[in-house]
């Protein structure tokens, strides 16, 4: 995830879960959000998930198209529902809830 313009894949293909993380380059909160999301995916999602990282500094139109107002913003797309999580994704339970996974704790 060193290059925010490139999408990163945390899980194998075929998953119904699509995650899109909007960041602002390597700003501190954006880096924190990517790190937290990577840890959550690796640890808590058995089937893995595809995560696309979009750098709004490089692709403002994409962010505007999806109504992104701040970064970092995570869009969780589960096919029929879509959930938005804003911030550094440091609240693990909140992220898991958005993804639809019960917390272990």
């Amino acid at each position: 995830m060193t290059d925010p313009q490139q999408s990163a894949v945390f899980q194998a293909e075929g998953s119904q879960l699509n995650l899109t993380l909007y960041v602002a380059g390597d700003r501190p909160n954006s880096l924190k959000a990517q790190a937290n999301l990577r840890a959550i995916c690796e640890e808590a999602i058995p089937g893995g998930a595809e995560v696309e990282v979009v750098n709004v500094l490089a692709d403002f139109a994409r962010a505007a198209e999806h109504g992104i107002v701040v970064t970092p913003t995570l869009i969780v797309d589960r096919g029929n529902t879509s959930t938005v999580v804003i911030g550094t994704l440091s609240d693990r339970d909140k992220v898991l809830a958005a993804i639809g996974i019960e917390s272990d704790q």
Binding site: V23, A24, R27, P28, N29, S30, K32, V56, L57, F60, A63, A64, I68, V69, V70, T71, P72, V84, V85, I86, G87, T88, S90
Partner: protein, 444 residues
């Protein structure tokens, strides 16, 4: 819940999530219709904090006095250098009378206040009073802040001022010395001018005296010429008188005496044989002696050769006379062209030669002398030289010494005629007497 309400609820939740994220400082950027706004609050705070730290570090450590004041000149803030230099702290400003403490003189305080509020560019040196009462020279410049306050930047210029004072003192001292030196020079110039004036005056006096001396000299020369002329006239008169007496002696007295002796001789022959009268013989003898004396006197008064043949011939005759009378061998060296122009001078030189040769006879102790007569550039030189005992020249420097040699009257007459007598003598080695006289013609 309707779909519309569900969407509204979702937007509200998202808005709350955004606000929470903003409150938690978890947002990097905000996206709007016009673009992206970076949110770097913490970073900016950190940066601001660093800048404040840097600024505070500068303020606290810079060796420059910093002072912040309000437009009313009542509230002040200082940096460490200000406190260290002047001793004032913010506590000293709390009573609102800080300006009167730092600038006690009202007029000066007014001037300083105007400067502090004028924001005149550049630096102004102010006499700022420290807390301990010392007046510190500080050079101030003002910078206006947006909020109406001002920052004064001050530099402690005591050392510079001290240098300036020392420089001024040195300059003043130099000026004083220059003035003193100038005064001394002016005094010297005045003295020199006075001296020059005095010397000019002295020179003028000297010149006048010189002129008078020259006049006197001319007068003296004129009188000398007169005297010389008179002397020559006197000599000429003497010569004539001598000649007349010689003629009387020769033509009258001698004839009478010869006639008287002739008559006495005739009378004696008439006496009987053997009756010679001794008295008569005595008278005849005395008459003969008188005739001889008369003839000698006549010759001495007016030597016949001198009158007849001139001085050179007369000196030749004198040589023979000295040989006959005194057994003195006289070598002569006579220039035929050295014949004097006047009769008086002829007789004078003849008489001088006779006197000098007679001195050889009397004093030299030898029977040999040398007589010379020469003429050079209008001057006659008559010299008599011998190789006898010589005379003491020191003695001849006195009149009595000359009188002893019969030369006093000769020297006197010589001086009157513009001539001189030179005497050279080495005791035991001989003498030379030289008469030097201008060959002046007979005065009319």
């Amino acid at each position: 819940m309707t779909e519309k309400n569900a969407k509204r609820r979702a937007r509200l939740n998202q808005a709350e999530a955004v606000l929470r994220a903003l409150e938690n400082d978890e947002v990097d950027v905000v996206l709007g219709k016009r673009g992206i706004s970076l949110l770097r609050v913490q970073e900016m705070q950190d940066q601001l904090s660093r800048q404040q730290e840097l600024f505070q570090g500068i303020i606290d450590n810079i060796p420059v006095l910093l002072c912040i004041w309000d437009p009313d000149l009542e509230q002040f803030q200082f940096n460490q250098a200000m406190e260290d230099t002047l001793g004032w702290t913010v506590e000293d400003t709390l009573d609102g009378k800080f300006m009167s403490k730092v600038y006690p003189d009202p007029a000066y305080r007014q001037e300083v206040s105007e400067f502090m509020l004028s924001f005149t560019p550049g630096w102004k040196d102010l006499r700022t009073t420290a807390k301990n009462g010392e007046v510190v020279d500080v050079s101030w410049a003002n910078v206006r802040l947006k909020d109406g306050r001002s920052i004064g930047i001050g530099i402690d210029v005591r050392q510079r001022k001290q240098f300036e004072r020392e420089l001024k003192s040195s300059r003043d001292e130099l000026d004083l010395r220059v003035k003193e030196r100038t005064a001394e020079l002016e005094q010297t110039v005045n003295q020199l001018q006075t001296e020059v004036s005095r010397r000019e005056l002295a020179e003028k006096v000297l010149f006048e005296r010189s002129e008078r001396l020259e006049e006197a000299n001319k007068e003296l020369k004129r009188r000398a010429r007169q005297l010389q002329k008179l002397a020559m006239q006197l000599s000429t008169a003497e010569d004539r008188e001598r000649h007349r007496i010689a003629e009387v002696l020769h033509d009258d007295l001698q004839q009478i005496l010869v006639g008287a002796r002739f008559h006495l001789d005739s009378l004696a022959h008439k006496l009987p044989e053997g009756e010679d009268d001794p008295l008569l013989q005595e008278v005849v003898s005395l008459l003969g002696e008188s005739i001889e004396k008369s003839r000698t006197l006549s010759h001495e008064l007016s030597p016949p050769a001198l009158k007849r043949s001139g001085l050179v011939a007369a000196l030749e005759g004198l040589r023979e006379q000295k040989k006959q009378r005194y057994d003195l061998d006289v070598e002569v060296s006579l220039d035929p062209d050295a014949e004097p122009a006047s009769e008086a001078l002829k007789f004078f030189l003849f008489k001088a030669a006779r006197e000098m040769l007679f001195n050889v006879v009397k004093h030299s102790g030898v029977h040999k002398a040398h007589l010379s007569l020469a003429k050079d550039d209008g001057t006659l030189r008559l010299a008599v030289r011998d190789e006898g005992k010589g005379v003491d020249v020191q003695d001849l420097s006195s009149d009595s010494g000359l009188r002893g040699l019969g030369l006093f009257s000769i020297r006197e007459r010589l001086e009157l005629m513009g001539g001189r007598l030179e005497v050279e003598s080495i005791p035991g080695d001989g003498s030379r007497f030289t008469v030097i006289v201008p060959d002046t013609p007979e005065p009319r």
